[in-house]
Symmetry: C2
DNA sequence: ACCTGAACACCGTTCAAGT
DNA sequence: ACCTGAACACCGTTCAAGT
């Protein structure tokens, strides 16, 4: 809790995570190596291991850190609208950190405190909508997969990759909104799987 | 088209891709290095570059190769059922090659001939269902994102990771089916985005 | 407790040379 | 055309030692 009294800064875990985020947005995922990170912090590469257990643990910390920026809706609004807004905000935040989106999926989402908080808020919104209790965790998983998946899919490729017309960011955002609407409609229209 | 007449095997591109697939399923993504692959084929590491331009190009070839195993529905069946079956088969195939699923998303799907063929079949099914023409490419993208995303999310973690109860493969498959049903329902109920 | 130098066991890729 | 030896420019991580 307390900072060291000395005037020499001294590395902290938060500083390591912050520098990792900076390096990530400046140089991308391939530019984020433990050695490059250490160089930016003016320490030897192995000094980082006093603050993070491994590169994987560091990436997990960065992942959850990013989710703190998601806008959560007010408690009392229309739940359907709240869901649409929450997922859209998540999509936007993920797009701002495009390089690490694939990591979310390969780790099945983040598992830190921020991710957990967002999951609980989403589940509460689903309950306040007309979603039956046993379908809530399933709908939650479907919404997470859809949102992270779409963000991963929207990442802009380096120009000139692929011959097909590349949809613009605005088109992809519209596509995301429409698909989310379909999903939310389907969840409410067909809470039960029998046809 | 023709094979070399000599009795000495000689490496081919197909052999490299095949060995890469084997290595991938035996040792996982981290086990698939160019050097390990070369060792398995009894050649020097740089010999591989006579057949593939880079590791990235090799992975792209593997990605599309895997999609050849997807079952495509018959021409004349119910289109809604055909969509459900096609996406489910894709999901199943992806799960059998869990380690490279995150790669599909980070490259926005595969772009080889097999991926293209599956995309065209899916679009045709959407048209044969009641989906309006301008919504077809959007619905296609949504289905791809959902299917690949869910497969990425289903990848089993090493045992003991995370404290929350881990859903079984059967539960995840049920979840996938339900979510796919929601999506297809929403696409048909709300072909237009105005409410 | 936190940091360093040095090392271990790896990577992908390139280049010049051989056949 | 296809393969090799050798090298380049890197990785993540560990260990013993210093303060």
């Amino acid at each position: 809790m307390e900072r060291a009294p000395g005037h020499r800064a001294g590395l902290t875990r938060a500083a390591v995570v912050g520098a990792a985020r900076e390096l990530l947005s400046e140089r991308g995922l391939t530019g984020l190596s433990m050695r490059a990170l250490a160089a930016r912090l003016d320490v030897a590469p192995n000094a980082l291991y006093s603050h993070v257990a491994s590169k994987t643990a560091l990436l997990d910390a960065v992942l959850d850190d990013v989710l703190a920026e998601v806008d959560t809706p007010t408690e009392d609004g229309d739940p359907a609208e709240g869901l649409q807004r929450l997922m859209t905000s998540t999509y936007t935040v993920l797009l701002d950190h495009a390089d690490l989106v694939p990591l979310y999926l390969s780790r099945q989402g983040a598992h830190g405190p921020n991710a957990q908080r967002l999951g609980e808020i989403t589940a509460a919104l689903l309950r306040r909508a007309e979603v039956a209790e046993p379908a809530v965790p399933e709908a939650l998983r479907v919404l997470i997969v859809y949102t992270i998946g779409f963000a991963a899919f929207t990442r802009h490729l380096p120009p000139g990759a692929g011959t097909e017309r590349q949809p613009s960011a605005a088109e992809m955002r519209g596509n995301f909104d429409r698909g989310l609407g379909w999903l939310l409609t389907g969840i409410r229209v067909q809470p039960d799987r029998r046809r």
